[in-house]
């Protein structure tokens, strides 16, 4: 009889499954709930992109691609990053096509972190950075961003977190779950702190296309930051391609080369069909992005003013597709609020506490859902808050 308690890796056993497991159990069992919980576009991938994948299958393109991904796709990624954000990456040795943005994050952390190295992670944020850092033997150092700063990372917060062991900073903006963005001036302040250090930046810019107002600025574009930045991007959020698992990691050739080794041994190459669709997305999909962005923006405004009318305090999120209102005025914890709201009104929103410290007292509402659903959710939220 094998004792699995002793055969399993200690670092894996130490990982928390999820802080809000019980809430998810309720959610899973409730079939007719309207979910504003899932952080994925409600749009189906535009047809011309799907069609390109189908066409590649018809032609019989079903084999592995090169490890780094199809060169035509890497050329398109390079052109796209230049066209949209003014960043230059050579397709030949600075870009890897990955299995979603998630794999890029994993590769970057594993390629950089030695045992005991610290990785600074602003929270509340997407849940993967801490566990991946731990699996790599590193130590996550969580920095709580504040609602009074609209959940931006400030230079002072960063400075306070840096120690001689700091290896990297994860910069996840526009932010899931807060919708916060970092503007050029914010990034310049961060750059000022990092300029004379050896600290690397893992910039998770998966939501770069979804900003409302000024265009997104990448930290790679701030003077002296390019050489220390690993840029993570992907197709999931911008082109509504979550299930295709298509992302990319870009950076200095010396770093990308090492990341490619891990990628090569762990997954060989990203899915071939998805890569062909991704070529179509990047060459002919700019209009799709813009149409979806405009729709998200309408939903964002409607949801934000609706929440404020209900009396929930909420800063204006200017990126991604989340609104992150404070529910402190209700006197409930964020898990209590979400469980009750789900049971009473059958609307799913996510407790802020799922996203780390600083998330308690907030809930994440995803507006990648129809205007109709958002209208219903607001009516029921009003009724729910009134009932408390």
């Amino acid at each position: 009889m094998i004792d699995y308690g002793t055969v399993l890796s200690d670092s894996v056993k130490a990982l928390e499954p999820s802080a809000i497991r019980k809430f998810f159990d309720i959610l899973e069992d409730m079939e007719d709930a309207i979910s504003l919980g899932i952080g994925e576009p409600d749009f189906v991938t535009p047809w011309h992109i799907r069609d390109a994948g189908i066409h590649s299958l018809e032609k019989g393109f079903t084999r592995y691609t090169g490890n780094a991904g199809l060169s035509r796709l890497r050329v398109e990624i390079s052109k796209y990053l230049n066209r949209k954000f003014g960043i230059e990456y050579k397709y030949s040795d600075q870009i890897i096509v990955t299995v979603g943005g998630s794999e890029g994050i994993d590769l970057a952390i594993r390629a950089l972190v030695n045992h005991g190295d610290e990785v600074i992670i602003p929270v509340p944020s997407f849940v993967c950075y801490g566990p991946i850092t731990r699996l790599a033997g590193g130590v996550p150092v969580f920095v709580e961003t504040k609602v009074e700063n609209e959940f931006r990372l400030t230079a002072q917060e960063l400075r306070d977190a840096i120690t001689p062991k700091t290896k990297a900073l994860v910069l996840p903006f526009p932010s899931n779950p807060t919708g916060a963005i970092m503007e050029r001036a914010d990034l310049e302040a961060i750059a000022e702190v990092l300029r004379d250090t050896n600290i690397m930046i893992i910039s998770d810019e998966i939501y770069a296309e979804l900003t409302y107002g000024d265009r997104h600025v990448s930290i790679a574009n701030i003077p002296d930051m390019y050489a220390r930045t690993v840029y993570i991007g992907g197709f999931s959020k911008s082109y509504a391609m979550t299930g295709w698992r298509m992302g990319y990691a870009c950076g200095p050739a010396d770093v990308i080369r090492e990341m490619l080794k891990i990628h090569q041994y762990a997954v060989m190459s990203a899915p071939t069909t998805s890569q062909y669709s991704a070529i179509e997305a990047m060459s002919n999909g700019d209009a799709d992005i813009e149409n979806m962005r405009l729709e998200y923006d309408q939903r964002r405004r409607l949801l934000l003013s609706g929440l404020r009318e209900i009396g929930l305090e909420c800063f204006e999120p200017r990126g991604a597709f989340y609104v992150f209102p404070s529910i402190k005025s209700t006197g409930l914890s964020s898990v209590e609020f979400c469980e009750k709201f789900l049971l009473q009104e059958k609307i799913a929103v996510i407790p802020g506490s799922a996203f780390g410290e600083g998330g308690e007292g907030f809930v994440r509402i995803c507006y990648a859902s129809s205007l109709e659903n958002i209208k219903i959710a607001l009516e029921r939220m009003q009724r729910f808050v009134d009932s408390l």
Binding site: F24, L27, E28, S35, G37, I38, G39, E40, V44, N176, T242, G243, Q298, R299, R301, L302, L304, S305, G306, I350, A354, L371, E372, K375
Partner: protein, 159 residues
């Protein structure tokens, strides 16, 4: 097209308040703009898009191509006017290509539709030929796919 019109075209039930919130405009301004659109005929009416397959009383939709010899000094307009006055006629377009006018109509039965064509449309002075096409199945109308889209079976419920 104006953002207000786009929103209303998609969902005619959106209130001025909701439209103001979604577009970031002032509510009274939105109200005023809608009133102006209604008055000047930009917004013709508010309707529901009905999936006829779900309605018990079935009927047929026909598209009828008409060839016309235009009348001196009147062009197509006079004949068009004589056609669109019929309640049976749902829409009427002047077309480029191998025929001139396209009529769409609904009728209780194919026989009723055919009767309308030969008794009324074909009988109009200047109509030189007709070709009637019956709709067998509607897949998409006004940007709305009529068949219920299948839901992906297993999905992640939290990202």
């Amino acid at each position: 097209m104006d953002e207000i019109l786009k929103l209303l075209e998609k969902d005619g039930r959106m209130t001025p308040t909701q439209i103001a919130q979604a577009t970031g405009q002032d509510e009274t301004e939105v109200q005023e703009t809608i009133r102006k659109y209604e008055a000047d005929g930009t917004i013709l009416k508010y309707t529901a898009l009905i999936n006829e397959d779900q309605v018990p009383a079935q009927h047929v939709t026909a598209m009828i191509e008409l060839k016309i010899s235009p009348q001196q000094g009147q062009g197509y307009d006079r004949i068009a006017q004589r056609i669109y006055q019929y309640n049976e006629v749902e829409s009427l377009y002047l077309m480029t290509g191998s025929y001139d006018l396209l009529v769409t109509m609904t009728a209780k039965t194919m026989k009723d539709a055919a009767q309308f064509v030969y008794e009324h449309l074909a009988a109009i002075d200047g109509v030189t030929a007709t070709a009637t096409h019956f709709v067998m199945k509607k897949y998409k109308e006004k940007n709305c796919v009529l068949a219920k889209a299948p839901e992906q079976e297993e999905r992640l419920y939290f990202v």
